[in-house]
């Protein structure tokens, strides 16, 4: 059983068994601290990764085909067509997809994380927070589920299925494993030296009572929004509680016309982003 005394040590062991956390995501996080980091640096970094490079080319060529233009083969030219922000999203989502795809249930976890990342970015844009950090935190928020799945795949699956009806996932995880996926995910974030805000957002993304920082508020509400919008569609999607402190922290009003636009944008972007390349 995991507990607060052995969590750091056990998670360090767990992290070594997990697929390698994409170095490129860590590099990207470092780059986000440097506002002057250019598209050229980012494209050069991505060029060393054939899958990321292929995704950049695929998106640029998708645009070029709409306009009846020939395909590109140079990923730097492709990156300049789709822009620095979209290249960042490709780096993060491709890195995470590769990271989670090797475990059972990885596809759903990836799609759920993608939906939360998109919603978090939309909420960050609305409330003036860092959209890049929100996107990355959204992609990583459930990474603790990978860890629990690795500890005991069958037990995790049972906990997950039993919790669909009553939403008591965290309690069951704690009963079976000693701690829940939020604690494991946060400890993994610490192991990978991710920023403190991401650690806090992962640790408290199911906390419906408190707000630790705007990023945590955005992730917490994004989890609620994507379930409400049924993204990705799943019988597991339920909304039983909302962190009202997070709503206040981000200054949101559900009845505001801007929120209706946020909902539509989340659905539109998720539909496109979840299509196979």
């Amino acid at each position: 059983m995991l507990n607060s005394a052995n969590l750091a040590q056990e998670v360090a062991k767990m992290a070594k068994k997990l697929p390698a956390f994409p170095t490129i995501v860590i590099q990207l996080l470092d780059m986000l601290r440097d506002e002057s980091a250019s598209l050229e640096v980012l494209a050069r970094m991505a060029r060393n990764d054939p899958i990321i490079s292929a995704n950049i080319l695929a998106q640029a060529n998708h645009v070029r085909r709409i306009h009846a233009q020939s395909d590109l083969t140079d990923s730097f030219v492709a990156a300049s067509i789709i822009g620095v922000n979209r290249v960042r999203r490709i780096v993060v989502s491709t890195g995470m997809n590769r990271f989670v795809s090797s475990v059972p249930g990885g596809l759903f976890l990836f799609q759920h994380s993608l939906a939360v990342a998109i919603a978090a970015q939309e909420l960050a844009a609305l409330s003036g927070e860092s959209q890049d950090l929100a996107y990355i935190a959204g992609m990583l928020h459930d990474v603790g589920q990978l860890g629990l799945n690795m500890l005991d795949e069958r037990a995790f699956e049972k906990v997950y299925m039993d919790s669909i009806a009553d939403g008591r996932l965290l309690l069951r995880e704690a009963e079976v494993f000693g701690v829940d996926h939020c604690a494991v995910g946060a400890q993994l974030a610490r192991y990978w030296n991710l920023p403190e805000e991401i650690y806090s957002a992962i640790l408290n993304h199911h906390d419906e009572e408190t707000v630790t920082c705007p990023l945590q508020a955005a992730i917490c509400l994004s989890e609620t929004i994507v379930r409400a919008l049924d993204l990705p569609a799943s019988p597991k999607n339920r909304v039983t509680l909302i962190n009202q402190h997070a709503v206040t922290e981000l200054g949101l009003d559900w009845s505001d016309p801007d929120m209706a636009d946020v909902f539509d944008r989340c659905v539109t972007r998720f539909r496109l982003a979840s299509q196979p390349q």
Partner: protein
């Protein structure tokens, strides 16, 4: 009589079937017409500002993509028929009923009301 009817609950979206379509900038095509204004900024400076009603040209679409604009609202030129939208609404509301369940807190109800007023995606 039409003028005896109560005010709609959501005056900003009186007919959700006809509301604008959100389209990813990657899927935009020339001659689409913006239903909402679009702006982009970098380092605190505005780098793009297009008003609602602007007709999109290929060059503008390319600029929007490079500037990181993810999706924009365009006029809904081929709205679903009333009958199809009524069916979509029925299914959408039933699904929301399952997701939110029968016992709702006040805060959950507020979110549910907003989603019901919004209606299903029209495009």
């Amino acid at each position: 009589m039409e003028f005896d009817q109560p005010e709609p609950a959501a005056p900003f979206m009186p007919e959700t079937r006809l509301r604008p379509c959100w389209v990813s900038t990657m899927a935009l095509k020339p001659d689409m017409v913006l239903a909402k204004s679009v702006s982009a900024a970098s380092g605190g400076y505005a780098t793009m500002s297009l008003p609602a009603g602007a007709t999109l040209a290929e060059e503008t679409i390319g600029q929007m993509i490079v500037k990181g604009i993810e999706c924009v609202a365009v006029l809904n030129t081929e709205p679903m028929s009333e009958a199809d939208y009524a069916l979509a609404t029925q299914s959408y509301e039933a699904r929301l009923g399952q997701i939110f369940g029968p016992e709702r807190t006040e805060h959950c109800q507020a979110l549910l009301d907003a989603l019901l007023r919004r209606g299903p995606m029209p495009c």
